[in-house]
């Protein structure tokens, strides 16, 4: 059987399986963050359909289609995974699982983890049984991440961890953390860092949510007070954590860069025309906003093409290792532009922070959802490395410009 025929029969099987197994409720467009399923030990499912969809996709390994079957993955080739993605898009299937384990830790464990670590952690990530958070930033180590100070003291068979992390996404809801700690304070700053995993239920771990300008608290401060971490939970070599961290960051950057894409947002021009009306010629009745939206939509479409092209280059082994910085930079700036335009299109209707319930605009404001998303988007160009840091990376690693 030729490669094309086998791929086409895979497509037919996949389509049939999705049609039989993806519940109809899971084929409705995502309304927003409330529809995301993060899994975890204390997972709260919005509906039985959501639980079932995760269970079915997880059992098949299709939450992580290209991971090996031995580690809970689907064992698909890149071409098959693309077919799966196309078929899921065709049926409007929602992603079954939103997971830092999939987007960030998993790829790093596949590359740097021991066999035992892969077998212990990857299948639980694939099935959404354990929810992970990332312990990177500290109060004095933001853009300059390698200056982090959380200490891990060698106690023979284990480390004793003391220190503080900040901007830990959903730390208060996570089951485990992957964390950068300093195991050697005498070494140079990049070489004294190690990458460890531990359970957030370990004695000595505490979290405190940080209230943001959006009124929400997706990030936490996370404190470690004499936390015991067994040495088998060290990933890679002692002092080799920076390599793991950098590898993982490239995946994080691709993830943040692709956020707008994954959420499949409503076309902005159509939304604005619905909100503001059209003139006699059918054009959006605000020429200045119309021009800004059209310019945005050109850039948005170009970015989508860039993601597609990058994916093809990556599969062909032609992608530049630092290109994720370009995607992260542009995707973040684009998403901020999107939310500025949404606020303009919705006018004062988007400014109602708490719905009194009476007027139609109040209900439409959905407790200030648009305004809260707008404010939240401002973090896109800060989290995972600021836009300025990404531009530094592009200048040095891709353009090879001189200087430190």
């Amino acid at each position: 059987m030729s490669e094309t025929t086998s791929l086409e029969s895979f497509r037919a099987e996949t389509r049939a399986w999705l049609e039989a197994n993806c519940p109809p409720e899971m084929r409705q467009p995502l309304r927003g963050e409330q529809d995301y399923c993060w899994g975890g030990r204390n997972a709260s499912f919005q509906s039985e359909a959501q639980r079932l969809w995760l269970q079915r996709l997880g059992e098949r390994g299709w939450t992580v289609p290209t991971w090996p079957r031995d580690y809970g993955g689907g064992g698909l080739t890149a071409e098959q995974a693309q077919v799966l993605q196309q078929e899921m898009r065709r049926l409007n299937c929602r992603p079954a699982l939103w997971s830092f384990g999939i987007w960030m830790l998993g790829p790093a464990l596949l590359k740097f983890g021991s066999e035992a670590q892969k077998r212990e952690h990857l299948p639980k990530i694939a099935r959404g049984e354990i929810r992970w958070c990332q312990g990177y930033s500290e109060p004095n180590a933001g853009s300059d991440l390698a200056s982090l100070q959380t200490r891990a003291e060698d106690r023979g068979d284990h480390y004793r961890v003391n220190g503080q992390k900040i901007w830990t996404s959903y730390a208060d809801q996570a089951d485990w953390i992957f964390c950068l700690v300093r195991t050697d304070s005498a070494a140079k700053k990049h070489t004294g860092i190690s990458f460890v995993l531990f359970d957030m239920a370990t004695p000595g771990v505490s979290t405190r949510p940080i209230t943001l300008i959006s009124g929400k608290s997706p990030f936490c401060e996370t404190f470690f007070d004499d936390v015991r971490v067994d040495k088998h939970n060290l990933v890679g070599q002692p002092g080799g954590g920076w390599d793991v961290a950098k590898y993982l960051l490239t995946h994080e950057r691709e993830m943040i860069g692709a956020i707008g894409e994954r959420a499949q947002p409503q076309p902005l021009g159509a939304m604005a025309a619905q909100s503001l009306g059209r003139d006699a010629t059918g054009r959006l009745d605000d020429p200045q906003l119309r021009a800004r939206i059209a310019e945005f939509e050109v850039d948005e479409a170009a970015f989508r093409a860039l993601l597609q092209r990058f994916g093809e280059q990556a599969r062909a082994g032609q992608a530049h290792g630092a290109f994720s910085s370009a995607l992260k930079y542009y995707g973040a700036e684009l998403n901020k532009r999107r939310h500025e335009l949404i606020m303009s299109a919705l006018g004062s209707g988007a400014l109602i922070w708490e719905s009194a319930g009476g007027a139609a605009e109040d209900a439409a404001s959905n407790d200030g959802a648009a305004a809260r998303d707008w404010l939240r988007s401002k973090a896109n160009s800060i989290e995972g490395g600021t836009s300025e840091v990404q531009l530094n990376v592009i200048a040095k690693r891709i353009l090879e410009l001189p200087g430190a």
């Binding site: 076309p267 021009g269 159509a270 604005a272 025309a273 059209r278 059918g282 054009r283 959006l284 119309r290 021009a291 939206i293 059209a294 310019e295 939509e297 050109v298 850039d299 479409a301 170009a302 970015f303 093409a305 860039l306 597609q308 092209r309 093809e312 280059q313 062909a316 032609q318 370009a326 930079y329 542009y330 300025e388 990404q390 531009l391 530094n392 592009i394 200048a395 040095k396 891709i398 353009l399 090879e400 410009l401 001189p402 200087g403």
Partner: protein, 371 residues
Amino acid sequence: MSLLLNEEQSMLRDSARSFLAENAPVAQLRRLRDSRDPAGFAGNTWAAFADLGYAGVAVAEAHGGAGLGAVEVGVLMEQIGRNLSALPFLASGVVAARLLQSAGSAAQQAAWLPRIARGEAIATLAVDEGIKHQPEAVALRAARHGGGWRLSGSKSFVPDGHVASLLLVAARADDGVALFALPRDTPGVQVERTVMADAHNAARVVLLDVALPDDARLPGGGAAALQQALDFGRAAAAAELLGIADEVFERTLDYLKQRRQFGRLIGEFQALQHRAAMLYVDIELARAALAKALLALDTAPQQAAEAVAIAKAKCGSAATLAVQEGVQMHGGMGMTDQLDFGLFMQRARVLQELYGDAGWHMDRLARMRGY
């Protein structure tokens, strides 16, 4: 279907790159400009270009061409942009050939396409009449007269119109936009060469009650066929713009690594590093948008308009940014005619305007998307 070049396309790129760098570099455009060359391109270079099969790359094999598609045209146009090669390829081998192929009669195709593919005849589309691109507002009049037609009106900004032996004229007939094949030597046709800011040439064309037989009209369509041929040309112009952006960016990046001020390389300054990085991302966006448009033209030409509008807008604005940053980062030297940046800037400006600038394509995108 991939946004990356396959092996044959990569080979075409490499051979076109070395041919054009050797035979039609920026220095040649400079010589043509300085000698006020009446044709505006080197005849022997154009003949060699055609001998390699490039002029007929998009002409069907049945008419003596290579029968390839938009992606291959894009590959050639990018290299033309890198070298600022002065050649009537875009006007003749791309837009006019496409229009004849999609809307021409069998007799028109047989008469012109083989000669276009061999570079022996130059054909060009005359569409614009005012100072901005407005193909839907064509006013040049085509009136029925006896068994034939009478054409009256004027056209401007007709690329390579001064050397074309065939003008494809968009006109307004009673039933809407009509397209005509008008040989240059038809009585009543006045062609005036206009030397443009980029040292390329265009023409103003005036038709004074020009009589044409009935079969001069292209039977295969009006406004829709015109738009499709224009879309082919728009994507090709976008590819030339991308080539310009690439070349200027490469030269500028080299300069940032060589030029010293304040005791250090100017490429060490973060103010310039960040601008270079932003320009790099913009050019990569333009490249991806263009690849998408070229692929769409080859796989689903009827649905390609949106992707083409996006590509022309994005390549236009990326190239505009590239030439401006190129001049600025070269400082005073960037302003001199001794360096080539002025020539790249001038060509980019003309290509922006040709077949609709970024603003025009953004407006078009908004209309297509219903807002």
